[in-house]
């Protein structure tokens, strides 16, 4: 394991005054531990990676409610299904790629189909895990998670909103997939009133947060791409282009109204996600737009390839996941407006 480095370029932080914050997996781990105090129904099932997923914080405080199932993701998820059927609220945690890819059928039969109250939490999402390489990177987890009927799929953008998302996830009853990341992540939702946020982090499942107003184009992003979307909007603004920015933290159910409004009011959309272009946020947006208000879209994401080992920043650049890729996409899509 390398020491997690931030994926934020210096420029983002400088341009926007964003501070570097903890990784979203850390924020999840802390929120889970806190919730464990008051919610006795929460139990955790992990697959020998609690020091990666950060369920170890919970495990330390509530050892009797923590189950390490070893490296056996299929069993892990089905055990969580049984615990939920017996009245518990289990968190099933592993690396995102192993949780979704190694236990898809167990989630289908044991969680999605019976709508059981299981919270799946996948850490190490995206290519920003860096050096461990493609076998450990989840770039298809959103395609898999959104394919489940009855599912809620959440991709928070920073540490504070991850805490809010974790709380919201337990207030909601039903199957949820929460995607967390490994690198340190810029803080977008500060509690100090900056960046348009108030004391309370705004977080409602299924409701996008509009972080910036603009009418030339809408950038719809999730996860670590939200900070980059803000940076891109800043750059575009310096070129006289005002972009709306939506933090689409819930991929399913999608905030149809916010997307439709964006299509109608800005006439062009860029989606940005740390995921394959196929099957994730971009496809959800494209589908809705085709049904409600057809407009041109450009998709920023990993383009139908597996990645490689490397330093996180370098990989994001190499695979086209930077603020400047978003800027380029925005310019292209604006040129295509009818």
């Amino acid at each position: 394991m390398t020491t997690a480095k931030s994926t934020q370029t210096k420029s983002t932080e400088q341009a926007l005054g964003l501070k570097e914050g903890p990784a979203t997996r850390d924020a999840f781990g802390e929120a889970l531990r806190e919730l464990g105090r008051t919610n006795a129904k929460i139990v955790v099932v992990d697959g020998d990676v609690s020091n990666s997923t950060r369920t170890e914080y919970f495990a330390k405080d509530f050892p009797e409610r923590f189950f390490n199932m070893g490296i056996a993701e299929s069993n892990l998820v089905s055990v969580a299904s049984g615990l939920a059927a017996a009245g518990k609220t289990p968190v099933a945690a592993s690396f995102a790629v192993f949780l979704l890819c190694n236990a898809y059928d167990q989630i289908r039969m044991g969680v999605a189909f019976p709508k059981l109250d299981v919270k799946l939490v996948g850490s190490h999402s995206g290519i920003s895990i860096g050096e461990d390489g493609p076998s450990q990177m989840a770039i298809e987890d959103l395609a898999l998670a959104t394919s489940f009927p009855n599912f809620t799929v959440i991709v928070p953008a920073d540490a504070p909103s991850t805490k809010a998302a974790t709380r919201a996830m337990f207030e909601y009853e039903g199957p949820v997939y929460l995607r967390t990341g490994r690198p340190k992540t810029a803080i977008i939702y500060a509690n100090d009133g900056t960046n348009g946020s108030t004391e309370e982090i705004p977080f409602e499942i299924g409701k996008a947060n509009q972080l910036r107003e603009g009418n030339a184009v809408t950038i719809i992003a999730c996860g670590i791409m939200v900070a980059m979307a803000l940076e891109a909007a800043h750059t575009l603004s310096q070129n006289g282009i005002e972009a709306r920015v939506l933090d689409m933290h819930t991929i399913k159910p999608l905030d149809n109204e916010a997307v439709e409004r964006a299509a109608r009011e800005t006439g062009a959309i860029v989606t940005a996600e740390e995921h394959l272009i196929t099957g994730g946020l971009g496809d959800a947006v494209a589908r809705l737009v085709a049904m409600r208000q057809p407009v041109p879209i450009q998709f920023v994401g990993v383009n139908d390839t597996y990645a490689e080992s490397g330093e996180a920043q370098a990989l994001l650049k190499k695979y086209g996941l930077t603020a400047s890729n978003i800027v380029d996409a925005a310019k292209q899509v604006i040129a295509r407006k009818s």
Binding site: A72, N75, S78, P90
Partner: protein, 350 residues
């Protein structure tokens, strides 16, 4: 989305659901404990129902249901499991999970008999709008504890229930039936290892060792399942081996394992796929697995069952069945040996 519906089916279903919706009917735990003759009579009747409902439906898995029907009868009516059909979600209930979900008709027959729903519903097996599904679906029908049909998952789900019992300091027990073909699935062994780690002594698994899977005998498809007893012992389980059609042996094993501590328990039950009824003994993989009997075959099977119904007339005390040629209670071991001899020992060894 549902745009059309089968009115008859919908009516029947409504009747069932109303029964449980009221919640007014709460009552004490039940541990039905029929006497030995009554148990044999029950297993006999349920066997008939399995054949009747699947033949009527035109599909279903009668042979897979029949091989475990004596075990299910013992579990639900032999003083083994406690449950309350009036309150299917009663928290103290023992759980039963049919991991080999395609044996659903057997489970449905048992649940109807136990009073979870009106037996008339069995007629709607596999019909649109009926909760009596091809494979068990939880929350669609009272008494179904898990959605199964993708093999390999039920034991892990059962372990989840078993761990919850421990957390809640409840003393309910969890029973899971798995298939011998199903044992090819790695998840079975993941669950086996994890259950041993957690010393889940409130978890009992019964292996329906009927010697056949979908495309042939276990001896042909996966001969290396044997030595199966050694496997489960090496995985840390308490293991017993019985004739799964010998009601006395089944009851004895199910009662005995309750006293085992710190270990989950595996009951390896030697059974006959189709419970020895001749239409299933045809040299045809589809008859052996997965196909319903045609009406004329069903008649033969039912007649054979009637022939077996000797206890009610001859043996009111309820001891073991006479050892006639077609008795489903002859020692499965014999059959196992026979299959071992005739089955090709290996395939694809070039």
């Amino acid at each position: 989305m549902p745009q059309s519906s089968n009115e008859q089916v919908v009516e029947k279903v409504a009747a069932v659901l109303n029964k449980h919706a009221s919640g007014a009917n709460k009552s004490e735990a039940m541990v039905p404990n029929r006497d030995f003759t009554a148990l044999q009579e029950t297993a006999w009747r349920l066997s008939r129902e399995i054949i009747e409902m699947t033949t009527k439906a035109g599909s279903g898995h009668p042979s897979s249901s029949l091989s475990m029907i004596d075990i299910l009868t013992a579990l639900y009516f032999g003083g083994v499991m406690r449950y309350n059909p009036q309150e299917p979600h009663w928290e103290e209930r023992d759980r039963f999970i049919l991991s080999k979900g395609h044996g659903a008709p057997g489970l449905y027959a048992v649940l109807a008999e136990a009073g979870y729903f009106n037996p008339a519903l069995l007629d709607t097996l596999r019909q649109t709008d009926s909760p009596v599904e091809g494979h068990p679906i939880m929350n669609r029908l009272p008494g179904i504890e898990a959605s199964t049909g993708s093999l390999g998952q039920g034991l892990s789900i059962g372990l989840g229930h078993a761990l919850a019992a421990r957390l809640d300091k409840r003393d309910y027990r969890v029973y899971v039936i798995i298939g011998d073909g199903e044992s090819d699935e790695g998840q079975i062994w993941e669950a086996a290892m994890a259950a041993a780690k957690y010393q889940a002594d409130n978890l009992t698994c019964i292996l329906d060792l009927n010697q056949f899977q979908q495309t042939g005998s276990v001896n042909k498809v996966m001969p290396s399942l044997e030595p199966v007893v050694d496997k489960w012992e090496a995985f840390g389980w308490h293991v017993r081996e019985i004739d799964g059609h010998d009601m006395e042996a089944v009851l004895e094993a199910l009662r005995a394992v309750k006293t085992v501590t710190q270990q989950p328990q595996m009951i390896v039950a030697h059974t006959l796929k189709g419970r020895g009824l001749s239409p299933f003994e045809k040299n045809d993989v589809n008859r052996k697995h997965g196909e319903a009997l045609k009406p004329e075959e069903a008649e033969i099977a039912l007649a054979e069952l009637d022939e077996q119904r000797t206890w009610a007339v001859y043996d009111p005390a309820g001891s073991r069945l006479p050892n006639n040629e077609r008795s489903a209670n002859r020692l499965a071991k014999e059959i196992v040996t026979r299959q071992g001899e005739t089955g090709k020992p290996m395939e694809n060894k070039s």
